[in-house]
Symmetry: C2
Subunit: 94 residues, 2 copies
């Protein structure tokens, strides 16, 4: 079971690593706007491939051209390095 | 602009056509559980292809193996035949 990180530790990691995510309670949230619905769906598929590889899956909401991702380690009861690591990988998609 | 249908007309259409959707206010809602995340994502891609063909796009939420779809014709301000038609097509995916 990965260690749960407190809010200050998460906020510090977001800043230090330059993650394009915000912390909302015990979730990391990213809102990504893409080119129309097709671009949003393509992005979701790329996120999905990373999620499958990490065996860690964000909640994913698609609204036409906008995708909202929410990460948390539900099994651990909060945010962990698993979330920060996958967040960085998803940022790497550009 | 397609004609907005009242709640009674929508409910009647759902029953008559045997749609696996429920009406919540001015939205049609379908919750589909698939085989793990991979099955959910595959379903979303098939829904996405129908949505692009119809140029009408549901809101799509993915939670691991469960996909929630919400249809409404926002430009018309309510539910229309466009929603009922796409709902039936999505049901046809099985």
């Amino acid at each position: 079971m990965p260690e749960v990180l407190g809010p200050d530790a998460v906020d510090a990691a977001i800043a230090e690593r330059g993650l394009a995510w915000s912390r909302e309670g015990d979730e990391l949230v990213k809102v990504a706007k893409r080119d129309r619905f097709a671009g949003a769906l393509e992005f979701v598929n790329r996120v999905g491939a990373l999620a499958e590889a990490a065996d860690h899956h964000p909640d994913i909401d698609i609204r036409w051209d906008t995708v909202t991702l929410r990460l948390s380690t539900h099994s651990a009861g909060g945010l962990t390095e698993k979330d920060l690591g996958l967040a960085a990988e998803i940022d790497g998609l550009g």
